[in-house]
């Protein structure tokens, strides 16, 4: 199983490099954190390789496959509808979404897509607020709510007490929930900052705490988000309940 997964991962690398849309068997359903771009924004800078690291963490820790080379996708491009996951990350103000961006993002959410909003500067919070403002235009009737600490997001793979990224940030995650699904997760922890590595595989940013477990907690959050995307509320199934209660009690 492990060999197959690794093989698939490598095939995914090759396929992704050779032809962005030509995926190998077993890779079309692999975890793929696509970076969402709006307006004239581009994906560049120190966190460039963070999405690949996210996929790599998922592959090495879990049985889930992930795409090794991650793509960007524009909010105005119908290709946003090709896969059910994207990450909208950045800092500073965002220009208002165009009508086309609003329409495509609306279709993305309507189809059941999941989006993570990650603010690089959560202490300032400009990007996070702007993203909420623009998403309120996409889903005017659905306001973000605070996820309960017992939400399945915090137990999809690791038992997580609170969200952590490059910074400790707030102790909760806000989300836009439709039906039973948290479809837009608002992170105020710079998760990509914690995952970002340089070309020589060194961490680009120091975490708020020098404790190695701090970054590990961020990686675990990233893994849990990936597993939430792929398994939805699987860990809420009744069959898991007694196990998880015992483990919470043991901690």
């Amino acid at each position: 199983m492990r060999c197959i997964t690794r093989q698939s991962f490598l095939i995914g690398v090759a396929a992704s490099v050779a032809a962005p849309r030509a995926l190998a068997f077993g890779q079309a359903g692999a975890f793929h954190p696509r970076m969402l771009l709006t307006g004239a924004a581009t994906w560049a800078g120190s966190r460039l390789r963070a999405p690949e690291r996210w996929g790599w963490e998922l592959v090495r820790r879990t049985s889930a496959p992930a795409r090794a080379v991650c793509q960007t996708v524009r909010a105005s491009d119908n290709r946003l509808l090709a896969e059910p996951f994207c990450v909208w990350a950045g800092e500073g103000e965002i220009s208002p979404l165009t009508r086309r961006e609003l329409r495509v993002l609306g279709r993305f959410i309507q189809l059941g897509g999941v989006m993570v909003v990650d603010d690089f500067e959560p202490r300032v919070g400009t990007f996070g607020r702007a993203a909420r403002r623009e998403l309120a235009r996409v889903l005017p009737e659905t306001l973000p709510v605070r996820l309960d600490p017992s939400h399945v997001l915090f137990k999809t793979f690791y038992m997580i007490e609170r969200p952590v990224g490059r910074v400790l940030g707030v102790d909760h995650v806000d989300a836009i929930v439709r039906g039973n699904n948290a479809q837009v997760l608002f992170l105020a922890h710079d998760l990509l900052g914690a995952l970002a590595q340089s070309e020589i595989s060194e961490w680009v940013f120091e975490t708020e705490s020098p404790d190695p477990m701090f970054r590990e907690q961020a990686a675990r959050l990233a893994v849990n988000i990936g597993m939430y995307l792929l398994c939805s509320d699987y860990k809420d199934d009744q069959v898991h309940a007694p196990y998880l209660m015992r483990r919470r009690a043991a901690r």
Partner: protein, 730 residues
């Protein structure tokens, strides 16, 4: 023939009003004349008498009286013989059947009522019909009340006597029924009865099987079995067993017990659990003591329609992907599905970066528990991209194959570790998949492709929902599992446009029957592209639900996804013609092939009937010479997947469940209707009704011609005039 009464009447060309008008005028004239003659003394009586006579003659000239003579025929009395037409009369009795004795008795009645007009009919559940031969029967019922009611509704001569020939164990009136209703229906006609047997055969029997409520899959169902012993047979304790009849395998024991009989009757309550929904055929049997003369009623074969409150589904995935996500989210959104899911989230090689299990929200995959203890509780199992060896499923594959063959559903969904890639080739499970698996080094193909619909795929109701959304279009799939040729009786709905197995395109989606169960092979892992993709957006993401609704519905025999509905018309009795009614979906066209197979381990050559391109509308298919047991009727219409219908066939069935005779009931019927109850040997003592007289000739003749009446009236009137003048009244 003889002369009957002669009566008088007025001419028949005058209506009643004219007659009464003329008579009234005549009477009035006479009264006036009487008043007038009261004024004179001279020849008073002569004037009055001549006036009355003249008036009478005038009336006679107008009304022209006639003589009517009737001649009548004397005919034999009408007697209706009603022979019990129940299957129950096929019970052997002294070397021949009760029915043979009844037919002989009916002939004897014809001899007894030599001068009578005897009609011999047999009665079953409804209207009586002409008596058939010894080997046939009309119905399992013998409803005398319905028979009389039907006869009364016919516009025909009322009989002068009914003669009922039966063993007395009628469906209606029952022994406890008030017979007043029967007496009313007889309309005053006496019902004589002829009892064809008066001794109970030595017999231990299942008298009745009652279910407490409806059968629901996985829920215990309480069955009450009523037993009886008659004819002097000693039965203190009778062992009872309940089995489920299954296709291609021995019957499965569901429950057993020992019934204690008190005064030759008793009952036992046993609980059974039927795990599969749909029609399930159950056999209830007893071990009768020695001396039992009628072994046929020692077992009952009963078809139960098992419903389910929810589909209990096991979804096992080897790794989480978008395909797994889409399927899970769709299954969870369906309130009719009780989903139990296990996803492999980590393998032993994965590095979770912790040594503490308490930091992980993971539980061991309970493969042994799931596929031994809990497997029968599921209606269907979905295996998605799961390596059978790596996750220790391989040792349970024989049990999983038996689960399918005994009625479970299985869907294997593609992925790198599905089918041959999951090391299922050559296993026991392979034999229940609709496709063969190839043990090659290349378990999957990486070439992107768009699956093509086959003719079966276009015709199959299972894909109708998807085709309604997208027509023949499908999303591009990122490769496919290498699947082998379809098995016999499997149908390929999607095929690969380029990959070949020999000379034929490689199957991508195939359906198949395996024993009592069904299985589906889906050799791609990209159906999530029907839920979320640019392609899916054209159908607002409903394509995935349309596909899986069809697949799961077909697997669970949802009538919406069957090409036709099959029903048994009446009941199936051994030796009697059995009629199946096939109702096709409006869009289903083409030749109809009905294949009839027996349930059980013993393979019997199936009965196949082909009906080339029948016209639209319900189709009746008559089957003959069926033996007792459980049957599967598979109806295939055109190239659509076959529809399966299970039914039970019995020898005797409920009609034979009580072999006792009941002459006392016949006595009561005869007594209350004024008839006489006799045995076969006493036919000559039946009272012969009086002959009936029927009008045959009617003659009408005038007393005198009208001109004679007129002449006489004129003469008398003239005389009257002369007398009036002589008496001074003019």
């Amino acid at each position: 023939m003889g002369l009957a009464d002669v009566s008088w009447a007025f001419s028949e060309d005058l209506s009643g009003a004219w007659v009464w008008g003329a008579l009234g005028l005549g009477v009035l004239s006479i009264l006036l004349l009487a008043l007038e003659t009261a004024r004179t003394e001279r020849r008073r009586f002569l004037v009055l008498a001549s006036g009355v006579l003249a008036t009478a003659l005038l009336l006679a000239a107008v009304l022209r009286p006639v003589a009517v003579s009737l001649r009548a025929n004397s005919v034999g009395p009408k007697v209706v013989v009603l022979v019990d037409g129940s299957t129950r009369l096929l019970i052997p009795s002294d070397g021949k059947t009760r029915r043979a004795r009844a037919i002989a008795a009916a002939k004897g009645i014809g001899s007894t009522f030599k001068d009578a007009r005897v009609s011999v009919l047999e009665f079953g559940a409804g209207a009586p019909q002409a008596l058939q031969g010894e080997g046939s029967s009309l119905s399992v019922e013998s409803d005398l009340t319905a028979a009389l009611s039907q006869l009364n509704s016919l516009a025909q001569e009322k009989p002068q006597a009914y003669v009922v020939v039966s063993d007395g164990r009628l469906s209606r009136p029952t022994f406890d029924d008030d017979l007043t209703r029967l007496k009313q229906l007889a309309l005053g006609v006496p019902i004589h009865t002829v009892s064809i047997a008066d001794v109970d055969p030595p017999d231990a029997a299942i008298r009745a099987v009652h279910a407490a409520g409806a059968a629901v899959a996985h829920q215990p169902l309480s069955l009450t079995i009523e037993l009886g012993c008659s004819g002097g047979l000693k039965c203190n304790e009778i062992p009872v067993e309940i089995h489920e009849l299954r296709y291609g395998m021995p019957k499965a024991l569901l429950a057993s017990g020992v019934a204690k009989l008190n005064q030759d009757s008793g009952k036992i309550e046993l609980q059974v659990t039927l795990d599969r929904a749909g029609t399930r055929v159950v056999e209830v049997s007893i071990a009768a003591p020695p001396g039992d003369s009628l072994p046929e009623n020692n077992s009952r074969v009963i078809a139960f329609t098992v419903t389910r409150d929810r589909i209990r589904l096991l979804h096992v995935a080897g790794r989480p992907t978008y395909d797994v996500r889409s399927l899970r989210m769709w299954l969870k959104s369906d309130a009719s599905v009780d989903l139990v899911a296990f996803f492999i989230l980590r393998s032993n090689e994965d590095d979770t970066r912790t040594t503490s299990n308490s930091e992980l929200a993971l539980i061991p995959f309970p493969v042994d528990e799931l596929f031994t203890e809990h497997l029968p509780s599921f209606d269907a199992v979905v295996l998605q991209d799961l390596d059978a060896v790596a996750y220790h499923l391989a040792k349970h594959l024989p049990a999983l194959a038996r689960y399918v063959e005994s009625g479970g559903g299985l869907i294997m969904v593609g992925g790198p570790t599905s089918f041959a890639g999951g090391r299922y080739a050559g296993t026991e499970l392979e034999r229940v998949l609709p496709v063969r698996l190839l043990s090659s080094e290349k378990p999957f193909d990486l070439e992107q492709f768009v699956p093509s619909y086959t003719d079966s795929g276009r015709a199959a109701p299972v894909l109708r929902g998807l085709r309604d959304l997208f027509g023949d279009a499908l999303p591009e799939m990122p490769g496919a599992n290498i699947l082998g040729a379809p098995r016999e009786n499997a149908l390929v709905l999607w095929e690969h446009p380029r990959q070949k197995i020999g000379q034929t395109p490689m199957p991508v989606l195939a359906l198949g029957e395996a024993g009592d169960g069904r299985s589906i092979a889906l050799g791609v892992d990209g159906t999530h592209l029907l839920a979320f993709s640019e392609f899916a957006d054209e159908g607002s993401g409903r394509g995935f639900g349309a596909l899986w609704d069809g697949l799961l519905g077909w697997l669970m025999r949802d009538p919406r996804f069957e090409a036709a509905r099959t029903e048994l018309v009446g009941e199936c009795s051994e030796g009697q013609p059995t009629t199946l009614m096939l109702t096709r979906l409006p869009s289903m066209q083409g030749d109809v092939t009905l294949t009839l197979e027996r349930l059980g381990a013993t393979q019997v050559e199936p009965i196949v009937q082909r009906i080339p391109n029948p016209p639209p509308g319900p189709l009746k298919i008559v089957l003959s010479d069926l033996k007792a047991g459980g049957y599967i009727a598979k109806a295939k219409i055109g190239s659509a997947p076959p529809t399966r219908y299970d039914f039970a066939c019995e020898r005797g069935g409920q009609a034979w469940s009580d072999s006792r005779v009941d002459p006392a009931r016949l006595d009561r019927i005869a007594k209350i209707t004024g008839g006489r109850a006799v045995t076969v040997s006493g036919l000559s003592s039946l009272p012969i009704p009086r002959p009936a007289e029927v009008a045959a000739e009617r003659r009408v003749s005038a007393l005198l011609p009208a001109w004679v009446w007129s002449l006489l009236a004129a003469v008398v009137l003239g005389a009257h005039w002369l007398l009036r003048r002589d008496s001074g009244l003019v």
